[in-house]
Amino acid sequence: MTRNKMSLSLAMLLCVAFPALAEIDLSGSWTAKNHEDNMERGAGPNPDDWAGLPFNEAGREKALSFSQSTISMPERICWFQTQWHIAAGPFSLKIWSENDPLTGKINAWVLGGWETRAPMTIWMDGRPHPSKNAPHDQTGFTTGSWNGDVLTAYTTHIKTGYMRRNGAPSSDQATITITFMRHGDMLTLALVMEDPVYLTEPYILTRSYMSTPTPVAVAGPPCIVGYEGVEEGRVPHYLPAKNPFIDEMDKIYHIPREASLGGAETMYPDFRDKIKDKFVIPPKCTRNCGAPVPGQN
């Protein structure tokens, strides 16, 4: 969602920098409440919808070269998303702790994996991150620390991936910080991606979950590579200035290209002044309109 600004904060009122002394239990099954960012967390975002992404020029150009058929390449069909998929994917969470068998001390928290994302192990035992030259993978390497009852996890060593499933790229230099805030049966995550290769400033998403007694499955069925219309060796892509969807958001939502192509200024409320005079409420919604049918979130 659009990032807003506050001119005076609650910083003097809420305590944010005290030592870790009041850890809480995060274990259990947590249902994703997908009451926002519906398409991003559901069937997938519209092509070329990068509004609110603090892209630099390289990020934008790489995204514009993306063809959705890329994920049907035999080499990519079973390719995991990075841990950023926690922010941008649809799924619920299963969380548990790994305890030292002798002392009972929690060595790690684990966020169970999905069929499209590897489990995340958050090491709590003080181990350092590997050398910057160590191998990267989609799982990455994550350490955590408590600040009172708030857990902060920091992930490095991830491979190139996507911030959005419409091809918005993240590099192997990206890092992810996740803050876990529990309020009774509700868990809110604030996720921050920093990427010196494709972003000019941090990209932030928040989302919430509800505790559920229904067990959340920790992985889907094994992925099997099949033919999805892309021959082995072919790399679907668009050449510069040839992306056919560049005005898709304008056609559907009347969001002009200068907004849909992203950039840091599109995260902030001031940007709206730039497009206000051009905007006309679009005609009645005809696809992806919601509301959810009874029984869905």
Binding site: T2, N4, S7, L10, C15, L21, A22, G148, T266
Partner: protein, 197 residues
């Protein structure tokens, strides 16, 4: 960022009664009735692109001003009671009556972390989304305010928002918004409510 199309209700767990009302959304009618602010009520205010200004009005009242729609919310601490009875009840309002309490984590006598919980009732009916998704006067609002410090030193205020409404929501509507602290008041631009933008 912009006003959604009529009929775009993605993600909102609306009842059929709510869909019927939203399908009849007509911003011209709201303007004619002087109801341009229906999408700036407390349950929706922190979803509007905007700047916030938060100050103590007095020892027991935290004040939140939003430049979008020139709205003001008051968070009352202590044993504050909504005016009523002999004092007279002004009726439900756009921003409702908000009671606030700190949720402080302590280790012994020392506070180690905390959130602000705000519960709001006595709301005038309004829109959860600018395109007419309704909430009723029976809606309730619970919010949790947390501060998150980014690695680059920026400070975020993360607000978890829970709206309940037995008339127009099939289940609690749960969303979250985040705001970045800025040092000055750059960009502060009070603007009147709009039924269309």
């Amino acid at each position: 960022m912009v006003t959604p199309a009529p009929g775009d209700y993605q993600s909102v767990p609306m009842t059929m009664a709510a869909i019927k009302i939203a399908d009849a959304w007509d911003p011209a009618k709201d303007e004619a009735a002087g109801d341009q602010c229906k999408s700036y009520g407390a349950p929706a205010l922190l979803r509007v692109p905007e700047h916030l200004h938060i100050t103590w009005q007095d020892d027991q009242t935290l004040r939140m001003d939003a430049d979008a729609g020139k709205q003001t919310r008051l968070f009352h601490f202590g044993d504050w009671k909504a005016p009523g009875g002999a004092q007279g009840d002004a009726g439900p309002t756009l921003q409702g009556d908000s009671v606030a309490q700190w949720e402080i984590q302590r280790a012994g006598p020392r506070p180690v972390n905390g959130s602000l919980k705000v519960t709001t009732s006595h709301l005038k009916a309004g829109y959860l989304r600018k395109n007419g998704v309704p909430y009723s006067e029976n809606a309730g609002l619970t919010e949790y305010y947390d501060l998150v410090k980014e690695r680059n030193g920026d400070l975020l205020m993360v607000v978890t928002i829970v709206v309940t409404d037995p008339m127009y929501l099939r289940e609690p509507f749960i969303i979250s918004s985040h705001f970045k602290k800025q040092d000055g008041d750059a960009g502060w631009n009070p603007t009147a409510c709009s039924a269309r933008w």
